[in-house]
C-alpha cells in the first residue's frame, strides 16, 4: 500500500501530467468539502437582472439563464461528482470483490456467478444503466446504483482473474494444504495482493462514473434538475450554446479534467503494479 502510494508520488515527480492530475483532483476535493466557503453565491440563487452575463470580475464563470452564478454552481457540482464517484466505486468494490473472490475459490459457484457477470456484460454499459434507471426511477442514489452495476461486472472480472492467479501460486496452495481456513487464506494472502489492482480499477471506475453520470444527467435521467451537477449544467446550457458558450465550457471542462486526472492516476498506479496482475486488468470500459 505505502509502496503503491510512493509509486504514485514518484511517478508524479517524474511525469508532469500525473502531477497535474493529482493537483486537479485536490482542487475538486477542496471544492467539494469547502463549497460554501469558496462559492461566492448560493448555487440556486436566482438573479433575474443578471441573466446570461459573460464571465467578469463579479461572476468569474458568468451566469446562466436564471442569473445563477456559474462558478458557484461548478464549485457545488464537485460535491456531486465526488459523491457519485465514491458511491459507484464503493458499490462496485463491495459487490465485485466478493463475487470475484468466491468465484475463484469455489469453481462450482464461480461458473454460475461469472456466467451471470458475462450476461450483464452483454448489455452495452449505457443501456444497462438506462434500463436500471427505468426500474429504479430518477435520482442520485439510483444513478449510483445503475452505474455501479455496470462496473460491478468489470470489477468482478478483474478480481476473479487476480484471485485465480493467486490461488494457483504456491504459497496459497501451501497454506491451504496445511489446513488454513478459507477466510484466513482470503485475509492473509488474497486481499493484500488485491490492493493495488483494485486501486487502479477504482481510479478508472471513478473516472468513467463521471462520464456515465454526466450522460444520464444530459438525457434527463440522472440527478434531479434542481441539483447543480455538472451534467445538469451542461444539459441546461444546450439551449444557449451560441448566446452563452461559457455555460458549455466550464462544467464540461470540469467533467473532462476530473476524468482525465483520474485516468492519469490510474495509469501511474498501474505502471507501478506487479506485472503479474497487469494483464488481468483488461482494457478500460468507458460509459
Amino acid at each position: 500500500m505505502t509502496a503503491t502510494l510512493q509509486g504514485v508520488f514518484g511517478a508524479a515527480s517524474a511525469r508532469p501530467l500525473t502531477a497535474f492530475g493529482l493537483v486537479f483532483l485536490l482542487v475538486v476535493i477542496v471544492f467539494a468539502l469547502a463549497s460554501p466557503l469558496i462559492a461566492p453565491y448560493a448555487p440556486l440563487e436566482i438573479d433575474s437582472l443578471n441573466r446570461l452575463v459573460p464571465p467578469n470580475a463579479e461572476h468569474w464563470f458568468g451566469t446562466d439563464h436564471f442569473g445563477r452564478d456559474t462558478f458557484s454552481r461548478v464549485v457545488y457540482g464537485a460535491r456531486l461528482a465526488l459523491l457519485i464517484g465514491i458511491g459507484v466505486v464503493g458499490f462496485a468494490l463491495m459487490t465485485g470483490v466478493p463475487i470475484g473472490v468466491v468465484s475463484a475459490l469455489y469453481p462450482k459457484i464461480g461458473r454460475v456467478l461469472m456466467r451471470g457477470v458475462d450476461v450483464l456484460m452483454a448489455f452495452p454499459s449505457l443501456l444497462l444503466a438506462l434500463g436500471l434507471i427505468v426500474i429504479l426511477g430518477r435520482g442520485v442514489a439510483n444513478a449510483i446504483l445503475a452505474i455501479g452495476v455496470v462496473y460491478l461486472t468489470t470489477t468482478a472480472r478483474i478480481v476473479y482473474g487476480v484471485a485465480l492467479r493467486l490461488r494457483e501460486e504456491t504459497y496459497v496452495e501451501a497454506a491451504q494444504s496445511m489446513g488454513a481456513g478459507t477466510i484466513w487464506t482470503i485475509r492473509k494472502h488474497i486481499l493484500p495482493n488485491m490492493i493495488s489492482p483494485l486501486l487502479v480499477q477504482a481510479s478508472f471506475v471513478f473516472a468513467f462514473a463521471q462520464l456515465g453520470a454526466a450522460s444520464l444527467d444530459f438525457l434527463g435521467l440522472g440527478t434531479p434538475p434542481d441539483i447543480p451537477s455538472w451534467g445538469n449544467m451542461l444539459a441546461e446550457s444546450r439551449l444557449y450554446i451560441t448566446r452563452a458558450p461559457w455555460l458549455l465550457f466550464f462544467p464540461g471542462m470540469m467533467i473532462a479534467l476530473t476524468a482525465f486526472s483520474l485516468n492519469l492516476t490510474g495509469d501511474a498506479l498501474r505502471d507501478h503494479m506487479d506485472p503479474r496482475f497487469r494483464e488481468a486488468m483488461g482494457s478500460r470500459k468507458r460509459m
Binding site: P124, L127, L221, L248, N263
Partner: protein, 315 residues
C-alpha cells in the same frame, strides 16, 4: 475449427437466452402493475384491463416468457404503445440511421486511431509520443455530448458549414449528400473511441516489440521498417482487431447520447424517448436487438481472430 465455432455459438446463445430473461422480467421489476405503469396515470381501469389481456399479463410469468420469446424468434417483438405499430418497424426505422452512424464512426476510429497509435509507438518516448498519448488520454475522458455540442457551436452555428441536427435518409431526397448530416455526429462519437484505440494500438505495439521473435527478426538483418511492419505491427493488430467488435457495439450504445444531441432519428434516441414515454415494448425490443448484435459481433470477431492467429488450439 467447426467444433470451435459451434462451441462459441452455443455459449453466445446461452448468454442470449439469459439476457432475454432479464430483458423480459424487466417490466415486471418496475414498481406497480405493468399495464397501469405503461398506460400512465390517466388510464381508466378498463384500458388497463384491456392491455393486460393484450399483453397476456394474466398468465404465469414463465408462460408469458415463452410466449414473448417465441414471438421474438418469429420476428414479432410486440406493438409499440405510443406509435401503435409493430416494435420491429419502429426499430427498423431507427436502425438504418444508427448503423450508418456507427459505421462512419468506425471508419474515423480506424483511420485515425490505428495509424496515430502506430506513429506514437514508433517514436516511443519522444515529445510527439508523449503529446499524442496525453492528448488521447484527455480525449478519452471527454463526454461525447460535450464534443458534439462544441462541434455544433463551431461548425454549424458559427461557420455554418454543416447541419447541426436531423438526418434525412440517404434514400430520400438529397441522396448521398445527406451523409453530411452524419459528419459532426460521427466525429463526436469517434473522438473518445479513436483515442482509446490509439492507446490500445500504441500499447500493443510496445508489448510486441519486447517479444523475443522481434529480436530474431532484427538479427536477420531486415530493415527496421520491415521489422515494424511485418513483425510488430502485424502481431499488434491482432489485439487491436479483436477490440473492434467491442468498440462497434459500444458505439451503438454511446450513440444514445449522440443521437439525442444531434436529434438523429436512430434507435438510441428511440430508446430515450421510449423511456420518457414509458413505451416498454419498444425499450425491450431495442435492448434485445442490441444485445443480439453485440453477441453476434463478438462471436464473429472471436472466430475471425482464430483464423488470424494460428497459435490458438482449434478444439
Amino acid at each position: 475449427m467447426w467444433g470451435y465455432i459451434l462451441k462459441r455459438t452455443a455459449a453466445a446463445l446461452a448468454t442470449l437466452v439469459a439476457a432475454s430473461v432479464l430483458i423480459f422480467i424487466f417490466i415486471h421489476l418496475i414498481p406497480g402493475e405493468p399495464a397501469a405503469v405503461m398506460l400512465g396515470d390517466a388510464a381508466t381501469p378498463d384500458q388497463v384491463a384491456a392491455l393486460r389481456t393484450r399483453l397476456g399479463l394474466d398468465e404465469p410469468l414463465f408462460v408469458q416468457y415463452f410466449y414473448w420469446a417465441g414471438s421474438a424468434l418469429q420476428g414479432d417483438l410486440g406493438r409499440s404503445i405510443f406509435f401503435d405499430e409493430p416494435v420491429t418497424s419502429v426499430i427498423a426505422d431507427g436502425a438504418q440511421t444508427s448503423i450508418l452512424l456507427a459505421s462512419i464512426t468506425m471508419v474515423w476510429v480506424v483511420l485515425i486511431g490505428v495509424p496515430v497509435g502506430v506513429i506514437a509507438a514508433m517514436r516511443r518516448g519522444s515529445w510527439l509520443d508523449q503529446g499524442l498519448s496525453g492528448l488521447a488520454m484527455l480525449l478519452a475522458s471527454i463526454p461525447t455530448f460535450w464534443v458534439g455540442l462544441y462541434l455544433i457551436l463551431v461548425f454549424a452555428a458559427q461557420l455554418g458549414w454543416l447541419p447541426s441536427s436531423g438526418y434525412p435518409s440517404i434514400f430520400e431526397e438529397g441522396g448521398l449528400a445527406n451523409l453530411r448530416y452524419l459528419i459532426l455526429p460521427s466525429l463526436a462519437l469517434a473522438t473518445p473511441n479513436a483515442a482509446l484505440i490509439l492507446r490500445l494500438t500504441r500499447a500493443s505495439m510496445l508489448d510486441v516489440s519486447k517479444e523475443d521473435y522481434v529480436r530474431t527478426a532484427r538479427a536477420k538483418g531486415i530493415s527496421p521498417r520491415q521489422v515494424t511492419l511485418r513483425h510488430i505491427l502485424r502481431n499488434a493488430l491482432l489485439v487491436v482487431v479483436s477490440a473492434f467488435g467491442f468498440t462497434f457495439a459500444a458505439l451503438i450504445s454511446e450513440a444514445v447520447v449522440t443521437e439525442t444531441v444531434f436529434a438523429l432519428p436512430g434507435i438510441g434516441r428511440t430508446v430515450v424517448q421510449s423511456i420518457l414515454r414509458r413505451d416498454y415494448p419498444v425499450i425491450q425490443g431495442v435492448i434485445l436487438v442490441i444485445v443480439c448484435l453485440y453477441l453476434v459481433l463478438n462471436l464473429l470477431v472471436d472466430i475471425s481472430y482464430r483464423f488470424l492467429d494460428p497459435r490458438v488450439e482449434l478444439e
